[in-house]
């Protein structure tokens, strides 16, 4: 009863409170302040300390010019219950200064100036908007050096009379203060840029928001606002180098290309968009029964337009624990834009980009190719027959060349790459409409993105619509609906491959490198030429492979205020549904997979992720000493999906997949279905004691349907504390230290990544058993294993210690974190005992840990010096991971470290030159190796321990993960111009360079060699290149090195620095556009270059992007993108 009584009372005041809150906020405070009574009685004090006392008692700010008034002047004052004007008059008595009250601001100004200006002033009016063109309500506009000023109204409008040529200072909390010199244009449009300073920033945390200064855990924030999105199709593409502790590596420059994300070295994190758990990978439709090259390497969240994102928060430590299961790899929270109170805002942005490839690998021309083939074929002849320099015999002149001189002379060159790579383009159009009033707010946006890739048959087209509408139906009830609709159309390129059959399924790029240059495009019979069993790269343009994905995202939330400002509840239902269709067709006269046969596939896949959550929040300030913030909730998470595929053969080339019933078959239908469910209860409590100590604790109980009843649920606790050291009195003397906070956190997260494999099932065997010329078919089922009732969660324990700081009047701020994450009870399918009928079984085992640090540093290097500003952002990340205990059946190589082994260890013998023709440079240690390893052209193996012989002890271990990952952004602005340069890089990273693997003597000495690249000029041979740096023919004779460790000649330092983005912008205010100014608030014109420069010693085509593996190194080439665009705010 008591509770409902208080609700009653409060709700009576409801309307009044809400009305007053924003609309009349400034007015009411001003009135209140003026009527407020002040009492000060101080002797021998200074004006300054009286000002401070007034500020304290009235909660207002006093502004003054130190040159105009000596605030250190000592005075005595004694006022009792006087009004503010009376008090101020008393203080200023005896100075030639007076005051002016504007909102919550008191300006101390010279008496003369304050009065005289009015006479010769002109009336200026205008609006103040933010970068998105949204009105800023309550912004201060003050004539510099005076008290003359005003604030903007609810539409962001103001008018003020000042003399021509005077300077207006425009300021608003959370934005960078701007100064504008007024001239004859009396209609002004002022755009304020958000101030990224940490102190006032609000951070999105799991199930709530928090002021940055009270955050107890390691959370990085990325504001996409200032990142150019002209040529960005996907959220992750914006994240490279932007957040400390987040490693984002571009996997493929293909349209919609993937970026691998890793928080502190773990796997792919969980994405939560406006509270809805999202699938992190892209939805792709498979190829069903038909084997196809795996060219697709696209990123997830493809339906989300990057321009719709307000902020991205990365939960790196125990902060992720509130998401419990699945949060073992950290959490990325994405908050999208919503409408805010103010006038209708329309923003239109149009970009166009040209995409060009970085220099690619250079195939040999026909003459080089044929000569090279002859050289190595002869080299092999000499080696096999023990002839000089490989053996005692002298050359018998009996070698038969692969290509005769007349053939070499006559050969024409086909540059196959020209038929595969090309220039691309991107068109990106965005429109957004937003606005609202206190009861109804809306945000609508539309996006059209069209990317024409830089490899044949690669493209992406997206249409996305988004709405975010919220309505305050009753004072205690707000409903919010977010809807995102999207359609993505892809042309799947045939560029990359090599997964199943190394030569048969390779992509067009690899084939273009492999096809001998002497082959013409088409033979005399008019058919495309064929090399080995590879498809003709020029013909591969005829592979027709398209995917269309459609998606909708709905998010419906009801926020209920049960007790105003204290107890509230939220019900949220979110659903993300995506479906994809794939249609590919290989015409009957197209040679693929060693066959001329028409083949096609129609595939459909859909998936749905649903989140249903209820949360209750409680906030209360207990006296002066404690502020409590509690959130408790529960949720259900359902994922399900299904797929349907039909493969068909022998179709009519014109009809193809439009009507598969016209095909002659055979047909191969397939389908699948899955459903997963999780249920959770969670609570977070945060207590802020004396504004000095913050303690946050979370507990989540998660259940998954995957495990057996006894193991279904697990608890994931976390606790974190922060000590706001700078609020302690003993720190007051450090004036330069604006803020200093120590943090520590501990939390647990989990993973249930194995699907339903804990249950004993029979699944269809991969193969059918057939007899009688395959006319009789048996479909056997195979037991996957018994039940595994004891399998449970993989656990990650996250520990973090960090500091947040702000220095020098908030000119420098940032944070630094150390962490250690221990992963135990790894849940994997791992090797079973040797005789087990299921070679792998699910198990919990082992232990590893990751440790490292990350740092963020922001600085304002120059602020508003002659209208020039310069700001910087630096992120630094480092991590390392080590094994403590491996799976029970793990096999250690002889040379492997068994204790605390780095998880990214790479072992090899190091090459130290090449054995020359007379072996004069061959060290004694090499003689301990087999005779084949002592041949000219074989790498000289470094004797690491200098014991005169090569044994497993000479194997080097390298940790191939980067020592440090950096991001560095610099933003310059001068008047209406701005320039942003962002770069990122990795240092101390080793990587296999598969381009060197391709440049192998082994690919040249054979009968009908595939083509090579100009890197093959570095191959050692005794005839033409006795100083070569890459091993010669001898290495192909499979010399068993001790312990079977490899020789490092393709692993290189892949450290790099990449200029990711340069943006140069020019802003035109609406008021300078004459009549158009009435409709246009401002226009921003910009040019942007993505990836203009990459600095690296790596000799492959790119040190960052995915490069394939031993059999295939041809990925999409790295691209540069040149964009121009305009953004118009109406």
């Amino acid at each position: 009863m008591k509770l409902s009584d208080s609700i009653k009372k409060r709700s009576n005041n409801y309307l009044k409170g809400v009305f007053l809150f924003l609309f009349l906020f400034s007015v009411s405070t001003a009135i209140q302040a003026q009527n407020q009574k002040i009492t000060i009685s101080q002797k021998q004090t200074t004006i300054l300390s009286v000002f401070e006392e007034i500020e304290k008692q009235t909660n207002m700010k006093i502004a003054y010019n130190e040159k105009a008034i000596d605030v250190n002047k000592s005075i005595s004052i004694d006022v009792t219950k006087k009004t503010l004007p009376e008090t101020l008059s008393a203080v200023l008595k005896g100075t030639n200064m007076t005051f002016k009250i504007q909102g919550k601001q008191i300006m101390i100004v010279p008496i003369m100036t304050a009065n005289s200006d009015e006479n010769i002033a002109r009336k200026y009016s205008g609006t103040v908007i933010d970068e998105n063109g949204l009105s800023i309500i309550g912004a201060n506009i003050v004539q510099k050096g005076t008290t003359n000023g005003t604030i903007t109204d609810t539409e962001g409008k103001f008018s003020l009379s000042v003399p021509i040529g005077s300077i207006l200072t425009v300021s608003y909390i959370g934005y960078i203060t701007q100064e504008i010199k007024v001239d004859n244009h009396t209609n002004l449009q002022i755009t304020l840029v958000e101030d990224a300073k940490s102190l006032s920033e609000v951070v999105v945390v799991g199930y709530g928001i928090m002021n940055r200064k009270n955050v107890t855990t390691a959370i990085s924030t990325v504001k996409p606002e200032n990142i150019s999105k002209a040529a960005v199709s996907n959220v992750s593409q914006m994240l490279m180098g932007r957040a400390a502790g987040l490693t984002a590596n571009l996997q493929s420059p293909q349209p919609g290309g993937d970026v691998s994300l890793s928080i502190r070295g773990s796997g792919t994190p969980v994405f939560v968009i406006d509270g809805v758990m999202m699938p992190s990978g892209s939805l792709e439709v498979g190829t069903g029964h038909t084997e196809m090259m795996q060219s697709i390497r696209r990123g997830g969240l493809a339906g989300l337009n990057p321009s719709d994102i307000e902020s991205i928060e990365i939960l790196k430590d125990a902060s992720a624990a509130i998401y419990g299961i699945g949060a073992a790899n950290g959490v990325v929270l994405i908050t999208t834009k919503n409408g805010s109170e103010g006038k209708l805002n329309i923003t239109f942005e149009s970009n166009w980009s040209a995409v060009k490839n970085y220099p690619y690998l250079k195939p040999l021309n026909s003459q080089d190719y044929m000569n090279m083939a002859n050289v190595f074929n002869k080299e092999n002849y000499l080696l096999v027959n023990n002839m000089y320099p490989y053996g005692p015999n002298t050359y018998d002149n009996k070698w038969t060349p692969s290509f005769y001189p007349h053939q070499i002379e006559a050969a024409q060159t086909t540059n196959w790459l020209d038929y595969v790579i090309k220039n691309g383009s991107i068109s990106n159009q965005n429109i957004s409409i937003s606005g609202g009033n206190k009861t109804f707010k809306y945000y609508l946006s539309g996006n059209y993105y069209n990317h024409n890739g830089t490899v044949i048959n690669s493209g992406m087209e997206r249409l996305a619509l988004r709405t975010n509408i919220s309505a305050q139906l009753f004072p205690f009830l707000r409903l919010t609906t977010i809807v995102n609709l999207n359609q993505n159309n892809y042309t799947n390129s045939s560029a990359k491959g090599g997964n199943t059959w190394s030569d048969v399924l390779v992509g067009s790029l690899q084939n273009a490198l492999a096809y001998p240059p002497l082959l013409p495009i088409k033979g005399n019979d008019g058919k495309y030429t064929i090399f080995q069993n590879r498809s003709n790269p020029a013909d591969m343009a005829r592979m027709n492979d398209r995917t269309q994905t459609d998606g909708y995202y709905v998010n419906f939330a009801a926020d209920v205020d049960i007790i105003k400002d204290m107890l509230s509840a939220r019900l949220m239902y979110g659903s993300n549904k995506e479906n994809g269709n794939r249609d590919f067709y290989l015409p009957s006269d197209f040679y693929f997979f060693s066959m001329y046969k028409s083949r096609g596939h129609l595939g459909y896949t859909e998936r749905r992720n649903e989140t249903v959550e209820t949360t209750v929040s409680f906030k209360k300030q207990f006296g002066k000493w404690a502020k409590v913030d509690v959130v408790a909730g529960m949720g259900r998470y359902l994922n399900k999906g299904q797929s349907l595929d039909v493969d068909y053969e022998n179709a009519n080339d014109v009809i193809a997949g439009d009507n598969v019933s016209t095909a002659n078959g055979p047909f191969y239908p397939e389908s699948g279905r899955y459903a997963n469910e999780r249920r959770s209860q969670f609570v977070r409590a945060s207590v802020d004691l004396l504004d000095n100590y913050v303690i946050t604790s979370t507990l989540r109980r998660d259940g998954t349907d995957k495990f057996f009843p006894d193991k279904k649920y697990a608890l994931f606790p976390s606790v974190s504390i922060a000590w706001k050291l700078s609020n302690e009195s003993f720190m007051k003397n450090f004036k330069w230290l604006e803020m200093f906070k120590l943090r520590a956190s501990y939390g647990q997260t989990g993973l249930d990544n194995l699907g339903s494999s804990m249950y004993s099932t029979y699944t269809r065997a991969d193969q059918y058993v057939k007899f009688s010329e395959n006319t009789v078919t048996y479909i056997p089922f195979r037991l996957n294993g018994p039940d595994y009732p004891n399998i449970t969660w993989e656990k990650t324990i996250m520990k973090d210690i960090g500091v947040d700081f702000a220095l020098f009047n908030n000119r420098v701020w940032g944070s630094f974190d150390w962490f250690r994450n221990d992963v135990t009870d790894l849940l994997r399918n791992s090797n079973a005992p040797l005789l087990s009928m299921t070679p792998t079984i699910p198990m919990n085992y082992g232990h590893y840990y990751r440790r490292g640090w990350d740092a963020t540093l922001n600085s304002i290097n120059i602020e508003n010096k002659g209208e020039f500003s310069w700001r910087s952002l630096l992120t630094l990340s480092h991590y390392n991971a080590f094994w403590i205990e491996r799976e029970p059946e793990y096999y250690y190589q002889e040379y492997q470290i068994r204790n605390n082994e780095p998880m990214s260890a790479y072992y090899s013998y190091q090459q130290d030159g090449i054995i020359n023709i007379d072996k004069s440079n061959m060290p004694e240690s090499q003689r301990s190796l087999p005779a084949e390893a002592q041949q000219p052209g074989f790498p000289i193996i470094k004797d690491k321990n200098n014991d005169g012989q090569i044994t497993v002890d000479d194997v080097y271990m390298e940790n191939i993960i980067p020592d440090i990952t950096i991001g560095l952004g610099n933003t310059f602005s001068y008047k209406n111009f701005d320039l942003d340069i962002f770069l990122y890089g990795q240092f101390g990273q080793m990587r296999s360079n598969y381009a060197l693997n391709w440049a192998s003597a082994g690919q040249l000495y054979m009968d009908n060699p595939r083509n090579n690249t100009d890197l093959s000029f570095n191959l050692w041979n005794s005839q033409t290149n006795p100083n070569g740096t890459l091993p010669g023919i001898a290495i192909l004779k499979t010399v068993p090195m001790p312990g079977n460790a490899g020789i490092n000649y393709i692993v290189q330092d892949a450290s790099f620095v990449r200029i990711r983005d340069i943006t140069f912008g020019y802003n035109i205010m609406g008021n300078s556009l004459g009549n158009f100014g009435r409709y246009i608030r401002n226009i921003r014109l910009f040019v942007n270059v993505q990836n203009p420069f990459t600095f690296t010693k790596f000799t492959g085509f790119d040190p960052e992007i995915y490069q394939g593996n031993g059999t295939s190194m041809a990925e999409h080439p790295m691209t540069r993108t040149f964009s121009t665009g305009a953004k118009i705010n109406f």
Binding site: S4, K8, E291, N377, N380, K398, T400, S402, Q407, I530, Q532, N533, V560, I562, M595, T614, G635, R673, Y674, A675, N676, E677, R679, D705, S756, Y759, S760, T761, Y762, T763, A765, D766, Q767, Y768, K770, F771, E773, N774, T775, V776, Y778, P780, F781, R782, L783, A832, L834, L835, S836, M837, P839, T840, P888, E889, Y891, M1006, D1007, N1008, K1037, T1038
Partner: protein
């Protein structure tokens, strides 16, 4: 303010609703489980059929789940690679792809210790198949426990006979790749963890007995004929038993007689194929599938394309024809490779020395191509220095795709005749039985050769020599050569004679990971195995 109550009521009921913890079992679609499968006689039959996966030929090599493993007849890891490429009939592939391809062609097994659990074309690992034997044992256990009302004893035993034949062949091949290997042979042991860790090598006698028992059970229970072609039957069980007894007869008494018994049971049902001008060359062609000589073969469809669900394919031509071969020669005539054209590379070849060991006029030489025209516009022949060996045309090109319609022979009458002759001579301690000599001469006659000269039939030793040579010339690239050479204690000697290298091992050593795993169970899994006589053979190889 009734509304507040309403909202709180809705809220709390919603919370109640979602906090239910029942109906929280996993939803698993598209699978069966031990409570509902196998449950009919037809399901028991298809359940048993999984045993054929290691003996099919599709591009999906493994039996399903976990490790990848080659089928026994897939070239990169099958019987050709294990027993022909490593034998005396193949020259080292010096102009080939190097690595494991080159090593095995040199009979160099030294690097096999590094073979991993996964699938590797160049370094195939067969040891993972011990897990597949465990699975077959599980299958046998399930069949044995099948209720009588669903699976009547007769049908059950027929299926069991088939399952045990399949398991026996698995063990037989494993024995000839590695020597005796630990296996789960008792269905009660398949899920007993200690048993799964008992990984010490059994004795040769033990393993021989296991295989014998399976074959013997099959001999009594598998149907004499099967309605499907290519499905194993009792005659194939007889051939398998005959091979096994011949190999192991030297250490177990009665085995040679058992082999002779098998011959007697087969006699009369099969005969050498003799149609046409050169029957040996026509023997394996599509037109003569399952001719009078074929006891068992993998039944292949020319429309198969290697994919998992399209049944058995024959990709041999792909591995035997050089990748610069042409369809037409310089005179515009079709080459033997018409209409398929070039292969993937000449993974398998016939060494010149082996070719030269044939008697002149041997019609079987016509199945070997000694010169061909390259797409570089030149002819290659025995004088070409950068060509390792001749081209196998035993399984000739007949269609345009890489997947020929030729059946893959598993057992044929010529082999049985030669085995019979050998069994007789090994079983008899006195004069050579005439029937044995006739059997060999029948095979020679079909190849257009005269009867064996007196010198070859004058003694047991010379006759055995003649049989070994005859087997080489008749059965090259049928997956038996290395087993034959070891049986004659001549593996090292013949390899040295024809390849110019000495084998590093008699049998492939076990992979290191297995030895180390055994050690972690407290077991001693001896890495290498050799039969008695190997050292003498090796010593004579010079």
């Amino acid at each position: 303010m009734k509304k507040i109550y309403l909202y709180m009521a809705i809220l709390s009921s919603a919370i109640m609703l979602w906090s239910c913890e029942n109906d929280f079992d996993p939803k698993i679609y598209g699978t069966l489980n031990p409570t509902n499968y196998p449950s009919t006689a037809a399901e028991y039959e298809s359940f048993m059929m999984i045993g054929y996966l290691p003996f099919g030929t599709t591009n999906v090599y493994y039996m399903g789940g976990g490790y990848n493993s080659f089928s026994w007849y897939i070239p990169p890891g099958g019987t050709f690679r294990m027993f022909d490429q490593t034998s005396d009939n193949t020259a080292p592939w010096e102009y080939g792809w190097g690595s494991g391809w080159l090593l095995l062609s040199r009979a160099d097994f030294s690097q096999c210790v590094f073979n991993g659990r996964g699938l590797s074309d160049s370094s195939p690992n067969q040891f993972t198949k011990i897990a597949e034997v465990s699975y077959l044992t599980y299958v046998i256990g399930v069949l044995e426990k099948a209720p009588e009302e669903i699976l009547p004893t007769e049908k059950k035993n027929a299926l069991l006979g088939e399952a045990r034949l399949l398991r026996g062949i698995m063990a037989y091949y494993l024995l000839h790749v590695y020597g005796p290997v630990p296996l789960i042979w008792n269905p009660d042991d398949v899920s007993v963890e200690e048993k799964l860790k008992e990984v010490e090598r059994p004795t040769l006698d033990q393993m021989t007995q296991w295989i014998y028992d399976d074959f013997d059970f099959a001999l009594q229970n598998i149907p004499e004929t099967q309605k499907e072609r290519g499905r194993y039957n009792r005659d194939y069980a007889r051939v398998c038993m005959m091979r096994h007894c011949l190999n192991e007869g030297y250490h177990i008494s009665g085995y040679y007689q058992k082999a002779i018994n098998m011959y007697n049971e087969l006699k009369g049902k099969y005969s050498l194929f003799t149609a046409g001008a050169n029957p040996y060359v026509d023997l394996f062609k599509v037109a003569h599938k399952f001719n009078s000589e074929i006891i068992m073969a993998i039944s292949v469809d020319p429309n198969a394309d290697g994919s998992a669900q399209n049944g058995n394919a024959n990709p041999y031509a792909y591995y035997m024809i050089p990748d610069n071969a042409t369809i037409k020669d310089d005179a515009g005539n079709n080459t033997p490779f018409f209409p398929m054209g070039a292969g993937w590379g000449q993974v398998f070849n016939i060494s010149r020395k082996f070719y030269d060991s044939f008697e002149s006029g041997d019609k079987r030489l016509n199945a070997i191509i000694t010169r061909y025209y390259t797409n570089g516009g030149v002819w290659r022949d025995r004088n070409t220095t950068n060509w390792d060996g001749f081209i196998i045309n035993k399984y000739p090109v007949e269609s345009a795709t890489y997947f020929q319609g030729t059946d893959i022979p598993l057992a044929r009458w010529a082999d049985v005749l030669l085995m019979y002759a050998e069994a007789e001579v090994r079983n008899s301690n006195s004069a050579l039985p005439t029937a044995a000599v006739t059997a060999v001469n029948d095979v020679r006659a079909r190849a257009g050769l005269a009867a064996l000269p007196l010198s070859a039939t004058s003694s047991k030793e010379s006759f055995l020599d003649a049989i070994l040579a005859e087997r080489g010339h008749e059965l090259w690239y049928e997956g038996v050569r290395k087993i034959d050479l070891i049986r004659f204690n001549r593996y090292a000697q013949e390899v040295f004679r024809k390849k110019g290298v000495r084998p590093t091992h008699q049998y492939m050593p076990l992979p290191n990971y297995a030895v180390e795993a055994a050690e972690s169970y407290g077991k001693n899994l001896v890495q290498t195995y050799e039969r008695e006589g190997w050292q003498a053979d090796l010593a004579a190889a010079r």
